[in-house]
């Protein structure tokens, strides 16, 4: 092969590799590679993962409870199709509240609930003065759109 032919083949090879790489990225983006599992993901797992997992979803309205008045808090993390119970003993972040997105880190118990070692609140990209939010709520045009950004 002359040098020119070699260069041609090499450039073709480079483009093929790049195209394959882009294809691999696009193919993988179709299915979410998450920082966390959603409750439905957990249900779909063939085998419960060992060790620490992350679970993301919304804190179900009315599910937060402090059994025995202790610092231990129980709540339910839900997505559209499934929900998971979470137990946590520790300090909750400021943004934690019902209806808010959270990411919970902890161990999956045999009964399907999660024993959390850390609770992270997910903030959405909405920034609004408190007064405005209150006013909107009063006028009834407020919409709960705090679902985690997907």
């Amino acid at each position: 092969m002359t040098r020119k032919q070699k260069r041609g083949v090499f450039i073709g090879f480079i483009f093929a590799a790049a195209a394959l790489g882009v294809f691999a990225v696009l193919a993988s983006l179709n299915s979410a590679i998450a920082y966390f599992y959603t409750p439905s993901d957990l249900q779909k797992l063939a085998k419960p993962p060992a060790g620490v997992i992350r679970l993301g979803g919304l804190v179900k309205q009315g599910s937060v409870a402090y059994p025995g008045g202790s610092t231990t808090v129980q709540f339910v993390v839900a997505d559209k199709f499934a929900q998971t119970r979470v137990t946590y003993n520790g300090i909750l972040p400021d943004l934690f509240r019902e209806g808010q997105g959270v990411v919970v880190e902890g161990k999956l118990e045999p009964d399907g609930s999660v024993e959390a070692s850390q609770v992270l609140a997910k903030h959405d990209e909405k920034y609004m003065p408190k007064e405005l939010a209150d006013a909107l709520k009063k006028q009834g045009v407020w919409q709960e759109k705090n679902a985690p950004h997907s």
Partner: protein, 222 residues
């Protein structure tokens, strides 16, 4: 193609001869795994959860410590002059050197992975996903490493700089590699897509490492 194979063959041969360092990379890998296991303690559940990340990190560190071998000795003894002089495409020479590094430093270590996985108590379901992610992802380590080595080949005591340059670019292969190994072990549906991202890391490295590495060598030879 014949010269391409000749370079790989020579480098692999040199790697396995006395003082070649291929065995050193494997021993370093064993050492890293052992140190992690000792530090984490004997509790089987903790070890088995961390087995895949430890082995991936071990592979990455073994790659890092063996990088300065890729071009340094050829530069010092003048072989690189000959390699450049006879090259129709310097990019292919870089590719050959990276391939040789993978074959002599990383492949033996991947072969040894099942043994260390056993010592670290990796669950049986985790073996194939871990091996698959290592096979698909470690070429990125050699390719990016060859680029970092090419950038620093004219510097004495460059081994730390090589690591500083290579390590940030290793992040995707490591993150997705461990992710794929763990997803596979858990039987999660994200196994294949994550493995595709590992493959993408290697493929993109295959695109830019030879080009950038050849440019770096040209500048370093002048």
């Amino acid at each position: 193609m014949k010269t391409f194979l000749a370079i790989i063959l020579r480098d692999v041969t040199l790697g396995f001869r006395a003082g070649g360092g291929a065995t050193q990379a494997a021993m370093f890998f064993a050492l890293v795994s052992l140190v992690f296991a000792l530090a984490i303690g004997p509790e089987p559940a903790r070890l088995s959860a961390l087995a895949a990340p430890i082995l991936w990190a071990g592979a990455l560190l073994s790659a890092l410590v063996s990088l300065d071998r890729i071009f340094q000795s050829d530069y010092e003894d003048g072989t690189l002059d000959v390699l450049v002089e006879t090259a129709d495409l310097l990019e292919l020479r870089v590719l050959a050197k990276a391939a040789a590094h993978w074959l002599s430093s990383l492949l033996p270590l991947i072969v040894a992975v099942p043994l260390f996985a056993l010592l670290l108590n990796l669950p049986v379901e985790g073996y194939w996903p871990l091996l698959a992610s290592l096979l698909v992802g470690t070429p990125a380590l050699s390719l990016i490493g060859a680029l970092a080595a090419a950038l620093t080949l004219a510097l004495r005591r460059a081994s730390i700089l090589v690591s500083i340059l290579a390590a940030p670019l290793y992040a995707p292969a490591l993150i997705f590699g461990v992710g794929a190994a763990e997803a596979g072990a858990a039987g999660a549906p994200s196994f294949v897509p994550t493995l595709l991202l590992v493959a993408a890391s290697s493929l993109f490295a295959l695109v830019f490492a030879p080009l950038a590495g050849a440019a770096a060598i040209r500048f370093n030879m002048s």
